[in-house]
Every structure is written in C-alpha cells, then in structure tokens.
C-alpha cells in the first residue's frame, strides 16, 4: 500500500470512529429518560473532551488521559430536598482503557452492571465495551439509591456490545490470584499500585506496553506479581536492563533476592517482563514465576 492510500485509509477510519463516537454519546442524551423517580434534568447535558476535562473533574483528569479517553457525557438530575444525581459516561479509546480505568478507580470488583462494577455508598461505577460509567449521588438517600440503580440498569442495557479484555490477562496464572487486585496500566504512574517499585519510568512503560499488577495469596504466603507485555523481546530486554540499572536494590535477573525479609526478583521471558515483589516466601514467588513462564511458553 502506498503512503497516500495509507493516509486516506487512516483518515476514513478516524472519521468513522469519531462519527460513531459522537453518535453514540448523543444517543445517551436521547435514550436516557428526562425524568426518573421525580428527579428531572434541570440543565443541559454537557460534553467534555481531553482539553476541557480539567475544567470538569478536579484531580482525576490525568487518570483518564493516561489511558486514552475521547469524550465524556455528563447529565445532572435534580429533585427537591434530594441530592443531585450526576451521570458521567466516558468514551475510552478502547475497552482495554475502560477496564484499566475501572481497575484503578474502585475498591472491589462486582458484576451487577456492565462487565464489572462496584456499588458503594452513593456511587455505582461500571465498565462495558469502551464505556466507563459513573453514577453518583451524595449524600445517598433511600430514594436516590433506588434512582441510581434504575439509571445504572438503563445505561447498561443501552450499551449493546461488550468489550474484550487486554490480552496480557491471559498470561496471569489463575490459581491463588486475588482477582480484585488486578491493575492494568499503560503509564508508569500506576506501577506502584500494590507496593512501591519506583517513582520513575524504569521499565519503559508507554502506550504500547500492557502492564499488570496482581496479588497472589495462599494460606501462608503472599506475593505481588508484575507482568508487562512489550511489542517485542528486544524492547523487553532493554526495559529489563534499565530496571536492573535503576532499581534501588541490586538485582540479578532470574535470581530472587531477599530484601527486608521479603523476596523480590525480575526476569524477561520472550517479550514479557515478569517480576515478583514483597513475597513472604521464596518458594511461593518461584511458583508464581514458574507458572507464568509456563503459560508464556505454551
């Protein structure tokens, strides 16, 4: 394919993607009810993009931007003597991004709405397809709780498709995995989700890498497992070398080392970096690494 044809194709695909996204976000404006349990819309729906998100949410914009976000639909329902209900529907660039933001912005994984959800006091958060959905009312009342449940159901139903999960998840050993502890990321800022690893990008994490952090427990032991998938093995090797040079503790790849009574280790396998941190048992850490290796090399 020559360059001109390639650019034309990219333009057409981008145009269609933007068009579909715009259409879908507007669909929420049309499909959501104007009134629900006596809550009514009192101001126009709003839309924010990656330039205006800072004006809307204080403190969280960077999280969405670090994954890949296009637009957010915002609607507020009001009712006398009741808290406002705030709906935010984020259109993420991919279902991976919707899943990623979800893993970092909740405390537990449930399956009441969408593909995964969390219900907490005055809040329902879920993700489905490319959408990350948040419905809030603060403080929660009996009436508002009922209304946000209804709204969550309506939004869930209105999204017909489901989204695929990041492929790197397939390489996590399943046994002993605490599934609620899974954190997916493509920005180094999220590297310290379970234990402190580094303030800096010492693993060359970028939008083309797919990182996971997860906890494993058995009756006696625990370990934090890091798995990063790189586009190719040479990039993985460069990242490994950078990590070895930069990590605060001297490490030799493929060898576990004890630090403050905890075992740590890192290695490359094909285009993956595997790491174990804060492990209370050398054997348990080795077991997790062994099982991950086996999946990668299958």
């Amino acid at each position: 394919m020559n360059i001109r044809k390639l650019f034309t194709l990219i333009f057409i695909l981008t145009f269609f993607q933007l068009n579909i996204m715009s259409q879908t976000m507007n669909d929420f404006a049309n499909t959501l009810p104007g009134k629900i349990n006596d809550w009514e819309i009192i101001e126009s729906d709003r839309f924010f993009d990656n330039k205006t998100l800072y004006d809307y949410i204080d403190g969280s914009a960077e999280m969405f931007l670090s994954f890949g976000f296009s637009k957010v639909f915002n609607r507020i329902y009001s009712r006398d003597n009741q808290p406002n209900i705030i709906i935010d529907i984020f259109y993420m660039n991919s279902s991976y991004d919707a899943f990623g933001v979800f893993t970092h912005s909740v405390g537990k994984f449930e399956h009441e709405f969408g593909q995964q959800s969390q219900r907490s006091e005055g809040a329902i958060i879920f993700w489905k397809s490319n959408y990350y959905v948040s419905i809030l009312c603060h403080p929660e009342t009996d009436e508002s709780k009922e209304a946000i449940l209804k709204l969550a159901g309506l939004i869930d139903k209105s999204i017909n498709e489901t989204g695929s999960l990041p492929g790197v998840l397939n390489y996590l050993p399943k046994e002993n995995l605490l599934s609620e502890s899974i954190r997916y990321f493509r920005h180094y800022n999220w590297l310290n989700s379970h234990t402190f690893i580094s303030n800096d990008n010492i693993l060359n994490i970028d939008q083309n890498t797919h990182g996971l952090l997860a906890r494993y427990n058995d009756s006696y032991d625990s370990v934090i497992f890091l798995l990063i998938m790189y586009p190719d093995s040479s990039l993985a090797e460069s990242a490994l070398q950078k990590f070895i040079r930069s990590y605060e503790t001297e490490l030799v790849p493929y060898q576990l080392k004890q630090k403050s009574n905890m075992w740590i280790g890192v290695e490359r396998n094909q285009n993956f970096i595997l790491g174990v941190f804060s492990s209370s048992s050398k054997e348990f850490a080795e077991d997790i690494i062994d099982r991950a290796r086996a999946i990668i090399n299958k």
Binding site: H138, N189, W190, N192, F196
Partner: protein, 296 residues
C-alpha cells in the same frame, strides 16, 4: 518553571533566612523546616468538633485552632500568639479549598478570619479564596498567607496536600501535573507566593483515604478522625497527614496498600526543593486531645 534550588547551607549562607517568612524574627527556628532543625507540628483532635450529622461545631473548631496556635508558638496567651503570626498592617489571603465533596469547613475559615481581624487587620484586607486567587485584589497584594485544606487521596498526586493547595497560584495548573505533580513545591518559591505563608492548617476532621470513580469520592472512604494538623512548615504537616492516611489504608484494606501514585511531591518538597521537612525524624509532633485511633 524551574526553581532555583538552594541547598540548606546555601540558603542560610546567602542570607536568605528571611525567606522563611517575614516573621522569622518572631518565630523560633524550630517552627520552620528550612533549617537543620526539627519542625514542630501540632496534631489536635476533639470528638466534639462534629455533631451526629457530621456538621462542624464552630466553637469547638475555634478552640482547636486557638490551642494549636498557642502550642505551635509556645505562647499561653492567645492574642499574643496570633500577633506573632499576623500584624495589623498585613494584607491576608486565606487560601482555602472548595472541592465539592470535601471542602475546608466554612466554620474553620471563619475561625481563622476572626483571629486575623482581632490582630487588627481591616476587613477589606482579608480574602478567603481557592480558585481565582490570581485575580483577587487582596491576594494580589497579600503580604501574608494562611493555607488550609482537607487532606484526601488524589489520583495523580497521591494526596491533595497543603503543598498542592497552592496550585491555584499558577495560571495553568495542569502544567504542574508532570511526574505525579513532583515539583509542586516550586510554586511556593514563585515571587508572588514566596515567604508569605504564616500558618498551615491541614484539615483532618473527615479525611479521605481512597478514591472511587471519576470524581474520586465516596462516603465509604472517609472517616471521622476529628483532627487538625497545624504548623508553619507545610511539608512537615503534609508528611504527618500522609502517615495517617497510609495507616488508615492499611487498617481498612487489611494489607499494605500504598497510595498509587505515591505522594512523592511531599518528599521532593524536602529533598529537591528544601521547602521543609518530610523526614519524620525531623518532625516533632505535639499531640493534643484523645489518642484512640490516632494512627501515628
């Protein structure tokens, strides 16, 4: 902006000790974290500060503030203590935080303002503001700042801190988000801010220890701590608040769950920007009030 990073030695040698605040003459050195001494931080707690509905009781918060100010200055007489902080001819900006879900209590803002007025400052020379400080005529002319905000977890900077509260003193706050807001302390050295902060009050009445959803708030992740952390060194106050948040996370989640991203701007405020002390070994915590659930 890249601040000029003076080492502590250079700082003193260069004769810029006055940069620690115009009241350095009045303050004992240990109140500041800028020199090689410990910073003094007051952690005061009073269960009566919140009623059953969570509303702040004005008299109690006033008392907590007053006790803290007396303790930080080691002066028994309240008026004399405040007069060490604010002079009648000062123009005073009270930098607050109005985040919708967890703002600085208005009762605390009022308590601060009341004492500032009692120091002889004219009403028109006092302003309480969060957003828009750059365009506020009082803040534009301010000779003294008092900084107050609640501590809460934050998706990008780890925690919303006293140090971070000054992000509104720059035109484009998002420019300071690089590397998890690592260099927020540099804002404190900008000419329109430097050397003006007389007091920091970190609100720990109902701190937030975990984020949920795009707005980052759920009632499930705040708890009644009934406290204020008060000091002259913002870094030391933040470091103490951070320890409490981290301890609460451990208690709540049942495992060691660090803040993500880490609140590195607090440590770097010490090690890179020399704004104050983040090292707990260099902080003297004076505890006032009940100890149960203190977490530090």
């Amino acid at each position: 902006m890249s601040p000029k990073n003076l080492t502590r030695r250079e700082f003193i040698k260069a004769g810029t000790i006055a940069a620690a605040g115009t009241l350095i003459i009045n303050y004992p050195q240990s109140l500041f974290g800028k020199i090689d001494l410990k910073s003094r931080v007051i952690l005061i707690r009073n269960r009566n500060v919140l009623d059953d509905t969570g509303k702040v009781i004005p008299d109690v918060i006033q008392e907590m503030l007053d006790e803290s100010v007396k303790a930080i200055l080691e002066i028994d007489e309240l008026k004399k203590a405040w007069e060490k902080i604010i002079k009648p001819n000062d123009i005073v900006g009270i930098k607050t935080n109005v985040w919708n879900y967890l703002r600085t209590p208005i009762e605390l803002e009022d308590a601060i303002k009341k004492r500032v007025k009692e120091c002889g400052v004219a009403e028109e020379n006092i302003s309480i503001k969060d957003r828009g400080v750059l365009r506020d005529p009082v803040f534009q002319k301010a000779t003294a700042l008092i900084n107050t905000r609640p501590m809460r977890t934050h998706y990008w900077s780890g925690v919303g801190s006293l140090i971070k509260n000054y992000i509104m003193f720059v035109e484009k706050p998002s420019d300071w988000h690089d590397d998890s807001c690592a260099d927020l302390a540099a804002i404190w050295k900008m000419p329109h801010v430097a050397d003006k902060t007389r007091l920091n009050v970190l609100v720990m009445l109902t701190p937030q220890f975990h984020n949920v959803g795009p707005h980052g708030f759920s009632n499930e992740y705040v708890w009644k701590y009934y406290g204020l952390i008060v000091g002259v060194d913002p870094v030391a106050c933040d470091a103490v608040g951070l320890k409490i948040i981290e301890a609460k996370r451990k208690e709540f989640f049942g495992d060691d769950r660090p803040l993500n991203p880490p609140a590195k701007h607090i440590e770097l405020a010490d090690t890179r920007h020399h704004l104050g002390n983040a090292d707990m070994k260099k902080i003297d915590i004076i505890r006032i009030g009940f100890e149960e659930g203190i977490l530090i």
